[in-house]
């Protein structure tokens, strides 16, 4: 095989594909460095708004004080309000590895005052139903000092959405454990 045909048939395709991939990766890194802070800011704002939403005694995010000395796995954020109530955020993976995020507001006695669920990573219309208000109503006033079991004490999973429900309950129990750890 001559040198030039070697170049055409073997080396050139490798070089071209590598160069294209390199350029695209560089571009993506550039765009990511521009958008990552904005995305982080957005997520933080949504989370803070959700914290305020589950704590009836709090009207503004500035009243919240962040707590960091927890060790419970699955919990990704805890805030405390001046009146002793608490909001805990936990994340668990649901269907196909998609993350289900749950934030629960708890008063000083460990009773649920509000719940916020983000299941947008779950299958639309099936798993995403675990974030619907009608379904979440069952958790109103839940005693969060004891572990929550699916199908007991009047709380149950969503039929047809086993994975998403399991993730939701796993996150709830992370929150229970974290509350018991901090209380």
């Amino acid at each position: 095989m001559s040198k030039s045909s070697n170049w055409e048939s073997t080396i050139k395709p490798i070089v071209v594909l590598s160069v294209i991939s390199l350029i695209v990766s560089l571009l993506l890194a550039l765009v990511n460095s521009m958008t990552a802070p904005v995305i982080a800011e957005n997520t933080k704002r949504t989370t803070l708004a959700a914290y305020v939403g589950v704590l009836p005694s709090v009207s503004d995010a500035s009243e919240l004080e962040e707590v960091t000395d927890y060790t419970t796995a699955g919990v990704t954020g805890v805030v405390k309000a001046p009146d002793g109530s608490m909001a805990i955020k936990a994340e668990e993976s649901g269907f196909d590895g998609g993350i289900v995020t749950v934030i629960v507001g708890l008063d000083a006695n460990g009773t649920e005052t509000g719940i916020w669920v983000d299941a947008s990573t779950q299958t639309k219309g099936i798993g995403s139903a675990v974030a619907e208000d009608d379904f979440l109503k069952q958790f109103d006033g839940l005693d969060c000092t004891q572990s929550v079991v699916m199908g007991q004490n009047g709380v149950d999973g969503k039929s047809g959405a086993t994975f998403s429900s399991k993730a939701l309950f796993a996150a709830l129990n992370d929150i229970v454990n974290c509350y018991n750890e901090l209380a």
Partner: protein
């Protein structure tokens, strides 16, 4: 292949009826059926899709002499995936609600047959300007189709259009229109409508399929 040089206008308008990517070429059906439950997400999808298609067509046309035949598909996919990820990152940063509404179908633009199809059928053989026009035309065709389909489904299924109430509460909503079967009903009717429109416009073109060997042979002679 003896083909007349297409005018710029015909390249641009091709995608709207004659070669409408969804209704006539029947490509990209999956995303079409999925995002047409609401007009707002259809508009967002159309815009993201058009952007990726135009950019990918331009770049692939520019590189058509550089990319060796052996690795043309991997090269196209890398370029398309790059643009889709850029759109995704920008959308997540600046249009969060739209990003959440489109969900998994936004990253799935990467494997949308229309984009890869236009790269293979058009951009790799034509000049940059023609490819850009083809991308714009196809993008308009796709956007018009999904918005039309979403309008029908949203009005009949939820009684709203772009979130505004258009049907009074006393009118029963056709729930199935928001579900997958409704999407297929709508899809079929629009396809039929597109063919009817084509015959009315007297623009019906002869189509060749892979099985149409006689025609292909004749052409090769």
């Amino acid at each position: 292949m003896a083909q007349e040089k297409k005018s710029k206008v015909s390249i641009l308008t091709n995608g709207i009826i004659k070669e409408n990517p969804v209704l006539r070429l029947v490509l990209g059906t999956c995303s079409t059926l999925a995002v047409t439950t609401a007009v707002s997400s259809a508009l967002g999808m159309g815009a993201a899709f058009t952007f990726v298609l135009v950019c990918a067509n331009i770049i692939i046309s520019l590189l058509r002499k550089v990319i060796p035949g052996k690795v043309h598909l991997p090269c196209y996919i890398v370029i398309i995936a790059g643009f889709v990820t850029i759109v995704q990152m920008f959308m997540q940063a600046y249009m969060e609600s739209l990003y959440n509404a489109l969900g998994v179908f936004l990253p799935l633009i990467v494997v949308n047959c229309i984009i890869l199809g236009r790269a293979e059928m058009f951009a790799c053989k034509n000049s940059v300007v023609d490819s850009a026009l083809d991308g714009i035309g196809m993008g308009i065709g796709y956007t018009l189709t999904v918005v039309l389909m979403a309008s029908i489904r949203e009005i009949l299924g939820s009684g709203t259009w772009l979130g505004f109430k258009v049907l009074p509460d006393s009118m029963a909503k056709i729930g199935i229109m928001t579900q997958a079967p409704g999407a297929f009903f709508c899809f079929g009717l629009l396809m039929a409508g597109c063919v009817w429109l084509e015959t009315k416009l007297d623009a019906r073109i002869e189509r060749k399929s892979c099985c149409d060997i006689d025609n292909l042979k004749k052409e090769a002679e």
